[in-house]
Symmetry: C2
Subunit: 151 residues, 2 copies
């Protein structure tokens, strides 16, 4: 599978989030060419601010592998990670972070800050932004438009 | 209870972590003068890099209150939060963050970066560092010393 194909799977997860009235962001973790974990934002469902898509898949991947070291894992996520999720990529030693749309409000890989480039931190994932960014941004736009309509 | 007394409870949690062979960091969340959640680092037990002490208590507090908005909650933690945990404080709208020891390697509230002061993020907790910092640093030092001995 190519980078775009993995991002399409993350987009499927974003659509699932939309159908559950969650902000539509999806993620997958890939290891040795296989999807190890897939998930989406669950903040409203769980009532807990920590359950962004990235946190779900990182937690699931760690539990599946039985280790908090995800050195040989790549993360694909439809929106640029927030500081919590970028920090979780550092903590869990993710190798590559591929994201779709850029986030001017909270994006902490390329936009608000470049967290992975801070030398003091003990791990520095590589990052690749803008993969299927139109599709990844469109579903978010559609979601927020539907929320405004229903108000 | 005073700030130091809440931090003592966080230190009790750090001691529990030590007894479970986890890096000894503890945290509590306080709301209206009461301890709403208490917990400690569980990275080894869960095999998952996301379960720092702060994440456990934020998740527990959100579930108890049935909302991801912790606007009227304060976090006490024995070590300066890493970028993931500082980001989780922003995401969950924590009001005040009180921490013990400063962390030159990953501290993201005052040391490596001052994350809460970045204007682009949509919430800016207040922070207060150095509360019982000697005790909070001593237990970490003792833990890493014991690990080196046992190697």
């Amino acid at each position: 599978m190519t980078e775009k194909e993995y991002m399409k799977t993350a987009l499927e997860e974003a659509r699932l989030a939309f159908s559950q009235d969650e902000v539509p962001i999806g993620a997958v973790i890939v290891r040795n060419g296989e999807i190890l974990a897939r998930g989406h934002n669950l903040r409203e469902t769980t009532h807990s601010g920590i359950w962004h898509a990235e946190m779900k898949v990182i937690d699931e991947a760690c539990r599946k592998l039985g280790t908090w070291h995800l050195d040989d894992c790549d993360l694909y996520v439809t929106l640029e990670p927030c500081p919590m999720c970028a920090g979780a990529c550092i903590q869990s030693r993710i190798r590559n972070v591929y994201f779709g749309a850029y986030d001017p409000k909270g994006g902490s890989v390329a936009t608000v800050q470049r967290m992975f480039r801070k030398k003091a931190y003990n791990h520095h994932p590589s990052s690749h932004g803008g993969i299927l960014k139109e599709e990844c941004a469109a579903i978010l736009k559609e979601y927020f438009k539907s929320k405004r309509k229903n108000k």
